[in-house]
């Protein structure tokens, strides 16, 4: 049997997968809320989370590099064939757009040029943000480790939806529960639950315990708590926490799965 190499990535990478995903969707939330004239607290929280993620993500990535001083070498080339390259550029553009959007937003009363700039940067940040939330699934899917490669279609969905729920929850925890955020979180939890039910029905074996727990947290548990929240508001906060923890846990679970996959071939 071919003995494949285990991923060398340390905790920073799954952490980045999570933080980047949350930040990306948060930027999209900020964009949508701004366009829809949502409440300022939600918009502010979403922008802050996006900016925080845009700042932290590169640090996490750099710290995982074997040669952190060479982070900028990522920008020597742009390679469509490399999900890592696409992701690096996406992160760069996202960080720039998010930062610019925040500046424009704060300066928004200044006039129409600024308002137009806000819309453009918001759209760029939202687009790259959504890519940021999903490309990590593409990145894992386009590798040789069977546990990832076999799921190259579902991983982007899994990562994206999980980021969606986590971002809505994060915004909610910062800015307070709003109807819009509850709707987003409900949708995300519902989709996760459907996936979970489908895999149960298909009797698919669990990838590992971390992923199982993460799925339960972000899927059925979060959904249940959200439904409970309709009757009893404090349950929303618990649902948000479950979605966030579940989302984060799942990234660690997937890296762990890759490592175990490689190890199983090195008997």
């Amino acid at each position: 049997m071919t003995s494949l190499k285990a991923p060398v990535w340390t905790w920073e990478v799954p952490a980045y997968f999570f933080v980047g995903g949350v930040a990306g969707v948060a930027a999209a939330i900020a964009c949508a809320a701004t366009l829809a004239g949502g409440d300022r607290a939600t918009i502010g929280a979403a922008r802050a989370i996006a900016l925080f993620g845009a700042a932290v993500s590169p640090l996490l990535l750099i710290s995982d590099l074997g040669r952190p001083g060479r982070f900028l070498y990522m920008l020597r080339v742009f390679k469509l064939r490399s999900a890592m390259s696409v992701g690096a550029w996406t992160l760069i553009v996202f960080s720039g757009a998010t930062t610019a959007a925040l500046v424009y937003w704060i300066a928004a009363p200044a006039g129409p040029i600024v308002a137009a700039g806000l819309i453009v940067t918001d759209l760029v940040a939202a687009t790259t943000g959504l890519v940021l939330a999903t490309y990590t699934g593409v990145l894992l899917g386009a590798t040789v480790l069977p546990v990832w490669a076999e799921r190259h279609r579902t991983l982007p969905i899994d990562f994206g939806v999980s980021s969606l729920g986590a971002a809505a929850s994060a915004v909610e925890l910062v800015a307070g529960t709003t109807e819009a955020m509850v709707r987003v979180a409900l949708a995300a939890a519902a989709i996760k639950t459907v996936f979970w039910l489908v895999s149960l029905a298909r009797r698919e074996p669990a990838v590992n315990r971390t992923i199982s727990r993460a799925t339960l947290l972000a899927g059925p548990l979060a959904l249940g708590l959200r439904l409970a929240g309709l009757a009893w508001a404090p349950a929303h906060a618990a649902a948000a926490l479950a979605a966030l923890v579940g989302s984060g846990l799942s990234r660690f679970g997937w890296i762990e799965a890759g490592r175990a996959d490689a190890a199983s071939m090195r008997q």
Binding site: G38, G87, L130
Partner: protein, 247 residues
């Protein structure tokens, strides 16, 4: 132009001179003094500090013990997973057809490590960069054979024009078959997504015994489907967000 390796495992005597010469020429550090108890293989496999690895396959053949040796190496794929994955452009194709990691550019992102269908390239922990067989690019430049092929005492490792080597491998397999050695097979996975390798092998028994996958796959073949899925998900998320604020 010499641009390929042919490792004829039926000539290998398991002396590991290739491992030593490779490490010496390329100044590869030691990677542990661990006795494995797996035949005479205390190297374990190819990796960040092992560019040639002699495999020891003990088995029973025709009622008696048999011991097959094969010197494994980076396959230098025609379409290389590591090269495609590399976000810095550190991994390049040389004029000799080899896949080469430029050590002054690699930033150790580790993506190539999980993109090699043969499990060859790896990141050296204390150094932080990814390493693998260089095809002795520096020697090639100087018109020399790679170190492993130079020291191999039995010409088990041959270096030369790939088409010539392919013909030699087929001829050798047929000659062995004529002599009654019917279980020798040529490993040359051309009809796969990697489009062939520049290191081909002749081994006895199953290729799987030597960790040579029957159908090595280029990981980027799944990119299109992956991106489509990501785009769909992004769109779905956009719709959900729009709906959440507009409804």
């Amino acid at each position: 132009m010499p641009d390929g390796f042919f490792t004829d495992a039926t000539l290998c005597i398991g002396c590991k001179a290739c491992e030593v010469a490779c490490k010496e020429w390329n100044q590869v550090p030691a990677d542990g003094f661990v006795w494995t108890g797996r035949s005479y293989d205390n190297t374990g496999g190819l990796g960040h500090s092992t560019y040639r690895h002699v495999q020891f396959v003990e088995r029973i053949r025709e009622g008696g013990p048999a011991w097959d040796f094969s010197s494994d190496v980076c396959k230098h794929c025609e379409r290389a997973g590591c090269l495609e994955a590399c976000p810095t452009g550190s991994i390049v194709r040389t004029e000799f057809g080899g896949v080469f990691v430029q050590p002054d550019i690699c930033n150790g992102c580790g993506y190539c490590v999980v993109s090699c269908p043969f499990g060859v390239i790896d990141r050296r922990p204390d150094d932080g960069r990814a390493f693998k067989c260089t095809f002795c690019y520096d020697r090639q430049k100087a018109g020399l054979k790679p170190a492993c092929a130079t020291v191999c005492p039995t010409e088990s490792i041959q270096y030369g024009d790939l088409d010539e080597l392919r013909a030699r491998a087929d001829a050798r397999r047929d000659a062995l078959a004529a002599r009654g050695v019917t279980d020798a097979v040529v490993y040359d996975p051309r009809d796969t997504s990697i489009g062939g390798t520049r290191a081909i092998f002749l081994v006895r028994g199953s290729c799987d015994d030597y960790g040579l996958p029957a159908a090595p796959e280029l990981p980027s073949v799944r990119l299109r489907a992956g991106w489509r899925s990501a785009a769909g998900t992004s769109l779905l998320m956009a719709i959900i967000l729009a709906a959440a604020f507009l409804v």
